[in-house]
Amino acid sequence: MNDLIRRYGVTITALMCLLVAFWLVMLVVVPNITLFEQSFRPYLPVVDVGGPKDVYSLRNYAKVFDGSIERSFFGIPYMIPVHVMTFGLTIWYSIVVTVACFALAYPLAFFMAKIANPKSLPTLLLLLFIPLWVSEVLRAFAWWIILAFKGPLNALLLAIGAIDEPVRWIVGYDGVVIGLTYAYVLFMLFPIYNAISSLDTNQIEAADDLGAPWWKIHLRVVLPHAKPGIASGCVMVFMLSAGSLLVPSILGSTTSQWFTQTIDQWFKDALDWNTASAYAFILLLLCTVFVSIALKVFNVKLSDIAK
């Protein structure tokens, strides 16, 4: 604190501390605490709030386990609560999206960092940034057009003879996965690109010179170095996917349900903010747990994750 005052003077330091405090306290910490507290209260009309019926309970959380349906796993039928299944599928498909984004982004990141002409890089980066600036809803909608039964993708594939009949692309979770991958692949690309850029090219050349095949060079030299970038990208894509509401809503089908949509239904349709809070908190908690485990596995700290 003394260093701050010495460097910037008392007034400016106080101002900065005030702004940061406003942000972190009023906009981050307190709302989340409120959410947490609210999630334990029952949904009551305004008059009853604070009264005898307003007791803390875990009832809202227990609603996750309501309404079981039957599912089969390799032919073995079992019962599972609907919302738990929704949550599980959300997590599963978010992982799929993360893996897909990695598969797409890694080769490109390597190309940009090590192979491409450095002079054309800023232009390339700019070109890649352009889709980001266009709103996510419009991009999801674009895919809705492309993947439509009578849409251009089918038309193209029919025209070049790859398929005989139009394919229903927006079925199950397929549309959602494609949409999410398109939306967030750049969030995987840039951290990995940054990480690989900092790798000394001489190391790759040394490995090559010592006779290593290209896949081994990547496995033993490039990937370990890019680990923080990969972890950063995976965490970002996973969290964004699991928390996405737009894409699953637009590109979802009748047989797909994203956990965020469930939360939205509690909030908008049932007007039950409390249960929505509980579900939102479940999402936050389990995603945090997942991310923490992933960080531990990759041996990366939260502070390494930056653009």
């Binding site: 007034t11 942000w23 910490v29 959410l35 070109l127 266009v134 996510e136 057009i145 939102a280 936050l284």
Partner: protein, 288 residues
């Protein structure tokens, strides 16, 4: 690298770019197709009626206006908070720094749904507790602004911090030594250095705000923003008027990107010339 692998890599790069850009092209194309549903197949002929429809769609225009107002507010707030945070973080070290930094980064990772709901609940509860009807404590666009700033400020902070790390703190000391007050040091030395990052942060904040849905959806009360409106239209029944709007937005983005690129190249040229002049002067000196 082998020629074949080089070309394969370039091909992949090209395909990736196509993958990224094609949906935008499709979006734009549908804006001109004389087809009641948004698509480019079947192509029924060029038309500009969707642009007219867009302008006549009052609700969309209102939503667009709201979106812009929110985006400007968010950009201003996020830049102020983000820059202050970056300067603060840059000047401290140790456990406090790690803690604050982690807290700031975590805001980007929190699902927007959580931010939206928590912001809503907090401010309405505060309003109820204080028994006031003051607009601040009711759902509305101002709550959307607050919710969006909570994570967009972190993005601005990251951009400004990156620029700060290449700043020579000796410049601040030199200015102080010459008699400048702290405010003068900030205004004449530090902030001018940060302007590129602050500008970039403002742009990022602006565009991130425009495309935000999750936070806005829960906090807006009855107000419309562009994302909310488009989303509701997709659900209820959509006309290519949306594509007309999309085309315009894409065009604006392209033009801005072009201006940025031209400016960047110009600046790079000027810098290179200056350095060449310095090298010539140094060579002259050494020949003394």
């Amino acid at each position: 690298m082998h020629k074949l692998r080089m070309n394969l890599a370039r091909l992949y790069m090209g395909l990736f770019l196509v993958f990224m850009i094609a949906p935008l092209a499709v979006m734009s194309g549908a804006a001109f197709n004389d087809n009641r549903l948004p698509s480019i197949v079947p192509w029924k002929g060029w038309t500009s009626r969707w642009f007219e429809a867009m302008i006549n769609d009052d609700r969309m225009m209102v939503a667009f206006g709201n979106t812009l107002v929110v985006a400007v507010a968010v950009a201003v707030l996020a830049v102020i908070v983000g820059t202050a945070s970056a300067i603060l973080i840059n000047s401290i070290s140790g456990r406090v720094r790690t803690l604050l930094y982690s807290m700031m980064i975590s805001t980007i990772l929190i699902p927007g749904v959580v931010i939206g709901i928590s912001t809503m609940i907090l401010w309405t509860k505060m309003g109820n507790a204080m028994g006031t009807e003051f607009f601040l404590f009711n759902p509305g666009l101002h709550l959307s602004v607050l919710g969006q700033v909570s994570y967009i400020a972190a993005m601005v902070m990251l951009l400004v911090l990156a620029r700060l790390q290449s700043f020579d703190a000796g410049l601040e000391e030199a200015a102080l030594d010459l008699g400048a007050s702290h405010a003068q040091v900030l205004r004449r030395i530090l902030l001018p250095y940060l302007y590129p990052a602050i500008g970039a942060g403002g742009a990022v904040a602006f565009f991130q705000s425009i495309e935000n849905y999750n936070v806005t959806q829960f906090t807006r009360g009855g107000m419309d923003t562009l994302t909310v409106y488009v989303f509701s239209m997709v659900r209820s029944g959509v006309t290519p008027a949306i594509n007309a709007l999309a085309f315009l937005l894409i065009m604006v983005t392209l033009v801005l990107a072009l201006i940025y690129e031209i400016n960047r190249r110009r600046l790079a040229r000027v810098e290179a010339e200056r350095e060449a002049e310095a090298r010539r002067a140094t060579a002259l000196e050494e020949a003394i």
